[in-house]
């Protein structure tokens, strides 16, 4: 004989779980179906906030400069003047060498005709968790997927990964686990650098490999652009390999501007 239960078990309310799952699926599907529309829309929404945030943070960063002692300012000013003079001399050398380099290339029938456009960085790490930059140039400015992105004339930091009409997403070479082909400038040997995030790289090579502290690795192309420089070599007596740690020679994350290779075609 069956006896009915005195207290019926309560049926748990499934509606909240279903709503979470449905919303999750909607987001996933919309990402698949309208990736570019969504990107463009959300970039347009975020753009004014990025400009606003940039303005606020830059004005706050200047506040501490009001509280510096006069003596410190004078000494800093003198050292900066020295630095400027030194850099101006270097600039003259650099321009001479660059001209000579271009002349030699044109004599050999090769010329570097790519042009660069300056772009403002809208968002960068640490805002971005994926080691990516958002910049304010896009398809309408001649930028395409794969365009090279430089932080100075000769330092390359990454490639354009996604592009919308007025904005682009730049993936840094240093993105975690990303492999990047590069050439050691001193010897011409090729290596594959592994990204560690935050403008850092790692390279495992046999102990005998000719890589030294301060060595510069360049992007393999006609005009050499620096990717990174060696700052530490970890040699373990137990291992037949040594680990080389590299980083981009300039602070990538403090720059307000980058230069993007323009597609002339």
């Amino acid at each position: 004989m069956n006896y009915p239960l005195r207290n019926k078990p309560k049926h748990p309310n499934r509606a909240p779980i279903i709503s979470v799952v449905v919303l999750f699926l909607i987001f996933c599907l919309s990402g698949f179906l309208f990736p570019n529309t969504l990107r463009s829309g959300l970039y347009s929404l975020s753009r004014p906030l990025w400009f606003l945030g940039g303005g606020v943070s830059s004005s706050f960063s200047k506040v501490k400069e009001f509280f510096v002692f006069r003596n410190n300012l004078i000494s800093r000013n003198l050292s900066l003047e020295d630095q400027v003079m030194h850099l101006e001399l270097k600039q003259v050398d650099y321009e001479t060498l660059q001209k000579e380099n271009q002349d030699l290339k044109s004599q050999l029938g090769r010329s570097d005709s790519s042009s660069h456009i300056i772009s403002r960085v809208l968002s960068r790490p640490p805002q971005s968790p994926y080691d990516t930059f958002v910049i304010d140039v896009g398809l309408s400015d001649g930028v395409t997927v794969g365009s090279k992105v430089y932080i100075s004339d000769s330092i390359i930091i990454g490639l354009v990964a996604e592009v919308t009409p007025h904005t682009s997403l730049v993936q840094l070479f240093s993105t975690g686990n990303r492999k990047q082909e590069s050439t050691l400038l001193r010897t011409g040997a090729s290596f594959v650098l592994e990204g560690l995030g935050g403008a850092n790289f790692k390279l495992d090579v046999p102990k005998d490999a000719d890589v030294l502290w301060g060595d510069v690795f360049v992007y393999p192309s006609l005009s050499s652009s620096v990717i990174s420089a060696v700052y530490y070599i970890d040699t373990n007596s137990q291992s037949a390999f040594k680990t080389i740690y590299l980083r981009t020679p300039i602070n990538v994350f403090s720059s307000q501007w980058v230069f993007v290779e323009k597609n002339n075609g």
């Binding site: 709503s19 979470v20 640490p126 994926y130 958002v134 990964a161 993936q171």
Partner: protein, 84 residues
Amino acid sequence: MDKIFIRIVAFIITFGLVVNLPWWISVLWLAGLTIYFPLYLEVLFFCFLFDTLYLPRYEFPYTALSVAFVFLLLVYFIRTRIRT
């Protein structure tokens, strides 16, 4: 009405913070909101925003969205277990 108004204000503030603050602060902020509000569905939108703005390719599973999905369900289950 007040609760809806608070959620709308929280949404607007969070949008500004997610876009401008370092990602780890945004994550802590979102985790706090998910725990504070009962079933904070907006967290899915904000993590989708992370993926859309910063992820180079749309590849399933979207990192931030998936983490938010699991975390939201986890918080919901813990919440209901504590209350019953």
